[in-house]
Symmetry: C2
Subunit: 343 residues, 2 copies
DNA sequence: TTGAAAGCGCTAACAC
DNA sequence: GTGTTAGCGCTTTCAA
């Protein structure tokens, strides 16, 4: 296999200059229909593909967007990615994807790397860089959009789920069904989503007149294993003091909790009600189907691309906040024994 | 924001020539330790990042691998991607990821596109390009690795799961538990995986002395919805002729089947046994936990990268076939009524 | 040990 | 409507 054909090769065959080829292929109006045809045919025959590296070099902008996520295995990330994919594809951009394994240092390293690849902009999903670090973020001359993280700055934009509201929604739903002892299974500590959902949980509690109990916030990390552990924690509590419901950081950990409950003979929702977060595709097919708070993940991805491209076009961009609804399914019921308000 | 600093900027500040900077940064031995230090410091201060586009242009090879998958939402794809991610990251390669939405034409278009980006090689996950089309595949002068698809050719390599064996494993497991009426819920028709699993299913049946019944192969596409439909199909069969077990193309559709069974009051595994394929993370937390055939998805991804880089280094590369084991969990039991061998 | 010069493939003035 | 020229940021001869 000889080397990839370049416009020079086409020019030679067509007997024209390289710039004519460039123009013909770019669809410049100032070229005769005839030569355009001829050149396009030759390009086809030679199986020509333009070198985007060269084009990038001269135009200074490449049709690539950099995307960074803590993990590619998380269904939430996958959903966001689909939105990013769809929107960017429509606008003619490719995506350079990197995962940071949830490590803030890796994350910064990835940013550097992608910038080196001349990406036109950066989308960062669920950044784990601590907010304090904010000012220490490396400055690039390309726009950056954070999805569900907040690092204010020039050229930095945000697309977020209203996590506080979501947490409030989930907890209120439980409270309205008569639960007075609601626990929260947390997510990654560094994450802003976790903190916001926790805050919403707390607000709902307090608005309803219940004291916030730190001991009912069980630490987690958003994995099914965390859900399993949470259920075992629940079983260890004295029966009279057990929460009657769990609001979980995400569907994945809620699903883990469901699974462990099944194995331990705990009936859901009879013995324990559960609400998740995300409305992942799996939530619909879980057993029983999981009540959850919708997160418009695809929409987040789509919006992030929209914001990025708007910024690129020097249009004004404002941060956007998306609210999801509560999706009632089958993991919530009234508590078996209506406990007397004990606060 | 002024433009990204280039080696020229560094050279000017350091009072040396651009080539010296290039050498210093590349770690060439023919440079004084002193200047190297100085240049590196300046590079740091200027927040310099090399332009990979420029480097690609001159070296002719970029540190990017192109990856194409039908969908990014599929957990199996996500797992393969993790393997690809891990292996390529270790070797200093980034990944340019594109999804084809399962459309063969898009797939070819994506190949072209990624080649235009000067990727060093291509990894294609579960290609939907029909095998006959094989010879019509565009020829590139970069190595291509297909994961779970087969398109022989020069510079084309394969990493596959032994799907035939997996299908045989699942079916045999069911047969050994006393099932005589085993149905197969299929996957995407164009996919090679589907055909191979079906073939294994058929072989197991015939080896055990049962006739293969085309009417027991229910068409599907690997989604949970396909699983739901399959269960409803099952319910419509006259009770005396109903299969007592299902081997499903993948875990996702098996999970859908489980969910529908729960909603219709069909007890798993008492009324119906189910075996999936993939051993997705979700299989472990399903209710009941799903018996399935392991697919070493991460390993597939890892191997694909290894093969690609080996080919790139002009080392001999052979196709690799990975076998997974049957993971017995809780969705298989002996059939309720031991049906008399009726074939 | 360092510099000068050429060139990777392409686009974009600027000519004609 | 088409050709000429220069240059994007980098690496890599070839000289010194």
């Amino acid at each position: 296999m000889t080397h990839r054909p370049s416009i020079k090769d086409i020019a030679r065959v067509a007997g024209v200059s390289p710039s004519t080829v460039s123009r013909a292929l770019a669809g410049s109006p100032r070229i005769s229909e005839q030569t355009r045809q001829r050149i396009q045919t030759i390009a086809q025959e030679l199986n020509y593909t333009p070198s985007l590296a060269a084009r990038t070099l001269v135009t200074g902008a490449s049709p690539m967007l950099g995307v960074i996520a803590p993990s590619l295995a998380d269904p939430y990330v996958a959903a966001v990615m689909q939105g990013v994919e769809a929107a960017s594809h429509d606008r003619g951009f490719q995506r350079l994807v990197a995962s940071s394994q949830g490590d803030p240092e890796q994350e910064v390293a990835m940013m550097q790397l992608l910038v080196g690849h001349d990406v036109a902009g950066l989308i960062i999903i669920s950044s784990r860089i601590p907010p304090e670090h904010g000012a220490g973020l490396p400055r690039f001359d390309i726009p950056v959009v954070f999805i569900n993280a907040f690092h204010p700055g020039e050229g930095i934009y945000h697309v977020m789920t209203d996590n506080e509201h979501g947490g409030w929604l989930a907890t209120t739903h439980l409270l309205e069904r008569g639960h007075t002892r609601v626990a929260y299974l947390g997510g990654p500590q560094q994450g802003r989503s976790h903190t916001a959902r926790l805050a919403g949980y707390r607000r709902a509690l307090e608005e309803a007149g219940y004291a916030y109990q730190p001991s009912w916030v069980v630490p987690g990390d958003g994995t099914p294993q965390a859900g399993r552990k949470a259920l075992r924690w629940w079983l260890r509590q004295p029966e009279s003091q057990r929460p009657t419901a769990f609001f979980c950081y995400n569907d994945l950990s809620a699903l883990g909790l469901l699974s462990e409950a099944y194995q331990q003979g705990v009936a859901i929702p009879e013995d324990l009600s559960v609400v998740g977060f995300d409305n992942a595709p799996l939530a619909e097919i879980s057993i029983p189907p999981l009540t959850t708070v919708e997160q418009k993940a695809r929409e987040l991805g789509r919006q992030a691309v929209a914001s990025l491209l708007a910024a690129l076009a020097s249009k004004p961009v404002t941060d956007v906040i998306l609210r999801g609804e509560l999706i009632p399914r089958a993991t919530v019921a009234a508590p078996r024994v209506s406990v007397i308000r004990d606060q």
